[in-house]
Symmetry: D2
Subunit: 249 residues, 4 copies
């Protein structure tokens, strides 16, 4: 059972009537709706305007894969929460999926170490075509050579990310831009960035987008039981399997 | 159900009494014995001395993950068979696991494009300690920070491989060598090289080695339905979803 | 001084009048013409129709960076020559630059281990825009955020290469395709694939294309004196610096 | 001319008589002494106890490659300075070389996005053998298959870094540890981590160590003129080369 938490800043839904109409349950609710029927997933949602910004320790520590949608409230997310998320990913193998404008979110920027908030964009509602560059990758399961999102915000390179361990999608935009729109990073846990999903278009209701996110949750789920991370002084001795760990002071 | 085929050149078992005694069913048989009880695997074996060198098209095309053990008969494997294996991996997403001296096998060398047969070695029967460098990786599932093989052939760098997409293990040898002993490569299918397993030691009976190979089979199993690879002339047209493919002559 | 050899199959130039008119000295000659003025380069050319297919051992072994243009005669290149080129790259750190349709050349396919001949293409003479994805990379020196080739053959994904160690360019094509058009691979030596350069367009006379190829030659030049590759049995002993190598039989 | 700045927290030198004796000019002075004779380098030093923690904007903005040695004062480095360093690397292509215990420094941790402070260690003064894993890499220039540091602090995996774009060295330690001791990362600028250099041993006086650091400075020097990073709204238009950038409000 993969324990999935879908986090959303939930701001546009409350402030922009057209977004409220498009996503009456919020973007988080729309994502939870298509993930929940999967029998291998337990799906919960969390929003910035809840206590503990939606992620009390009990929930965060019980989350296998955290999805993150944010846009207008990145700055409000508390650094202490970001610290916890980053630690969960780096040391406890939690998966993290950054959606669309979460490229500029604090957790994603911290995990990457680069100014991932920087890229080109325009809100013309153009289509985009996402080409599959890694046809054998689990995140590409069930897709053809490419798929198209009929209307979305356009993102364009240069996207300031470290080179992904695997690049799954490259997007083609009619305005002349390209974008690395599906990027896998491996730290302790697994991180996926997926570009589609502007709040004013029904992107998360599209079958292929739902397929990719569903695939990504399964890919990002922790694959090894939580590694008990250790550090500190070590006792020397090639074959001394009985060395105490951690050493007593 | 993962369809696993364990291929072995099966030469030492027939020519060296101590190997025959250690592996009465052959190395392939020993590996099949610990894989078969897994309910998600259908395990078959194949040997060089069988018709079609053990891999008639019906079997190869029905194999999801091919394990390969070879040492003294690399040169006898027919190039036409190597071509088929390489195509299965590159274009049809079959997994390939090269064990121990299969570093110098034809399929592995062809898939890597480098002289992977080159490395340091000595047959002293020393222990080796395999450190886990990617603790969140599925192939490290169930292991601690490291495990040790009590006696094995020693391999040492420089190992002429492309840089692995993920390095899972680095081995420490008491003679002063290190070795990249668990290497993941992603092409269309997934490739894993795993260093332990000299024919004169009971390596494949060791619990941790069996765990790694079992994990590797699951990791290497095709994750996306076979991609229908296509190529050739394309019709121009941004939004022409009805373009014929492949184009009629 | 970087010793550069520009190899060309030189077939279209002899068989197609419009190519002969466009490249009166051959594509190899056009490339040599813009590389030669660089004071840090010694540039020579070689063609398939010369003795030893243009690359006698004296020349190949004296080459630091080999550029390769081929299209219609891939099959005529002898396997023994390919073996030598691949060895020079893998073990003696020679640089190799595959230009345009050399994606399907024997040396490039062998070095990659994948069916690099496969990709989409069409010969419409469309423009392409090459986006710089690695702005700090030496191959991007002197370029802006992107540059455009006014007319060229269009290539499109899926391009069956291993994931590049560095992806420098992604191309945007007006017909809806994207392509990884500048790809760096590191083996012993360095390998660069660069997509522009169909024989019927004056691509190699374009300033930006010349800049990229010039940069790539400098990047691909061997950076460490030829490594004396060794292999074989090793003597055990952590601190025995006097161990003979290779060991006497 | 590569403008090199060697930064050192310069604490042990002032507080520990044996370190002061070993490095009378400080570790920064010892490093500057062997780098300065290179005609292609302009070398300056900086220490934590200077104004602006040694790195006023005039110096930082005039630095091509920043070397960093820190151990006991990581916490004192101001976040505002770290921000500037990280920006210089990510967006302005400055090189950054983290030496020894700088694995736990603020700039390196921020650039990596992982808890790089975590690893095994012991201060036994054991030797270490550094194996060259990338023999063609410029940082390995002039080295053999391996070299040894006679006495140093031992570091051991698991080292919590993202997988390096290139792994140049793996260290073997007699106590049974291995360590990725020479790691290349590419962001906008180039980052190198190099493990040797405990303050109580004369490591920086060793010829091979000096060779590696000298090579690393040349490798890390910006290879493309500072990229003018841009972001923001874009005007649509495939072929509109005259689009204003940045757009006027």
């Amino acid at each position: 059972m993969i324990k999935v938490t879908v986090w959303n800043e939930n701001a546009h839904e409350k402030e922009m009537p057209e977004v409220a109409k498009l996503y009456p349950k919020g973007i988080h609710g729309a994502i939870a709706d298509f993930l929940s029927p999967n029998e291998d997933m337990l799906v919960r949602t969390a929003t910035l305007d809840s206590p503990d910004q939606g992620l009390p320790d009990e929930l965060l520590n019980d989350t296998d894969v955290l999805l993150w949608w944010g846009h207008a409230r990145h700055g409000q997310v508390e650094d202490a929460l970001v610290d916890k998320i980053v630690k969960r990913v780096n040391l406890e193998n939690m998966g993290f999926i950054a959606l669309h404008s979460a490229h500029a979110s604090k957790p994603f920027q911290r995990l990457m170490g680069t100014p991932t908030g920087m890229l080109r964009w325009r809100e013309d509602g153009d289509m985009q075509r996402l080409w599959v560059i890694s046809p054998g990758h689990p995140i590409a399961e069930g897709l053809g050579d490419y798929f198209e999102v009929p209307q979305d915000e356009t993102y364009g390179e240069m996207f300031y990310i470290p080179q992904p361990e695997n690049l799954v999608f490259i997007s083609w935009h009619p305005g002349g831009e390209v974008f690395r729109s599906g990027c896998c990073f491996v730290r302790g846990g697994r991180i996926f960035y997926f570009q589609p999903g502007h709040e004013t278009f029904p992107v998360y209701y599209q079958k292929e987008v739902q397929q990719v996110i569903t695939n990504a949750v399964r890919w990002a789920a922790p694959k090894a039981p939580t590694h008990k991370y250790i550090t500190g002084f070590v006792k020397k001795g090639v074959l001394d399997k009985n060395a105490e760990w951690p050493p007593k002071p």
